[in-house]
Symmetry: C2
Subunit: 204 residues, 2 copies
DNA sequence: TAAAAAAGTTGAAGTCATTCATCTTTATAG
DNA sequence: CTATAAAGATGAATGACTTCAACTTTTTTA
């Protein structure tokens, strides 16, 4: 498996992704041209396209890394959520928010979101959708945990309610990345104001 | 004011927008080339750009028309909302959904949404954002009406709650336009399942 | 009405993502 | 080791949005 060809391939792919993350963060996704990435990775433009189908593909590889970390952080919260319903929900939401800008800039998030909406049927669009679905499921799982614990009314259906919570946090995150000047703290405060009253309403 | 030049300008702008709406609906936004619109409107490519800054600009003019109608429909509901909280909220939401595909196709909606996310600082992005804000305000207004009527708990803050409802219906609409095969009925059912339990919780 | 100014139109050129026929490099067979 | 086949790299060509310097048309001035 480790012939010369294999090694060279792996190395080229690594160099291209490395160049992309660097350039995207430095120059912005839009401003970074494929030719620039190719130059930095010391390959030709055509070669970039042998490894990634489109420019958006390269971005999506980064998004996937980021969201995997976010899901990890969520698992930690799920393992031992805070006692009260509001604190528990907000702990998960803030865990998401706090791990969202490790690899991606706001501009990169915007582009990824735009890609996912504009071309939902492409591999990229589907991939983004799946990541979203996993986050929504995790939110539903938290509601279930709280329900099993007896902290949430038994007559609440966790599926639709988890989806609603996720839709709200997702839309608020979208507003956050749309405004380069909005600090994370403002996002947290707004979502706090939306989520706490709701949490009290569903308490057992 | 009605010199020859003025008349010709108005006529050209009308022809371009007309050509755009026709072509976008017939061929799809992406597939319709500026050159095609120019040909149909009997002007040159450059002239199209004298009237609209970008291709997205032309689309946004259509979106604005559509949303104005949606807001009109919303006003009708606000004037005399159904008696129960759940019916009232869903009446407004469904009024929005039912008036959303008059001028725009799902593909056109996707593109407009993508534009608004990707370039929030541009005139187009801001324009889309403002339309969204007006819809969210209308939802908050409905909650206030229901509260004044005594149908909703007095201790609920209508602002954050209205925003949450809007975020959810907006995100669900986004899912709807992302799936060309999803019928309106499915969207309605899902949002119904999310909204009714919530409505009962906030009842006075 | 004729000349000058202002406004607007035009389409070829520029830019950048993406494709593809050709060429080079690596692996395999005899 | 040579020859053949397979895999992969290459960059010029393509296509679509957008720009801009030159050209027309309309309006104003005298």
């Amino acid at each position: 498996m480790a012939g010369l060809r294999e090694k060279q391939k792996a190395d080229r792919e690594r160099r291209i992704l490395q160049a992309a993350v660097t350039k995207f963060r430095a120059d912005g996704y839009r401003a970074a041209r494929i030719e620039d990435l190719a130059d930095m990775a010391e390959v030709s433009v055509g070669t970039v396209y042998n490894y990634y189908q489109t420019k958006g593909d390269i971005l999506m590889a980064t998004v996937a890394m980021e969201v995997e970390e976010v899901l990890e952080a969520g698992l930690t919260i799920l393992a031992d959520p805070p006692q009260t319903v509001d604190d528990a929900l907000l702990a998960l939401i803030f865990a998401y928010y706090d791990h969202s800008l490790e690899y991606l800039t706001k501009e990169m998030w915007r582009t990824a979101m735009a890609l996912a909406i504009e071309a939902p049927g492409t591999p990229n669009g589907r991939r983004y959708f799946e990541l979203d679905q996993r986050l929504a499921s995790q939110m539903t799982d938290l509601v279930k945990v709280l329900q099993n614990r007896g902290a949430v009314r038994q007559d609440l259906d966790p599926g639709p309610f988890g989806a609603l919570l996720f839709n709200n946090l997702n839309q608020m995150f979208q507003e956050f990345v749309k405004d380069d000047d909005m600090p994370l703290e403002v996002l947290r405060q707004r979502v706090d104001a939306q989520t706490r009253p709701l949490a009290r309403l569903i308490g057992a």
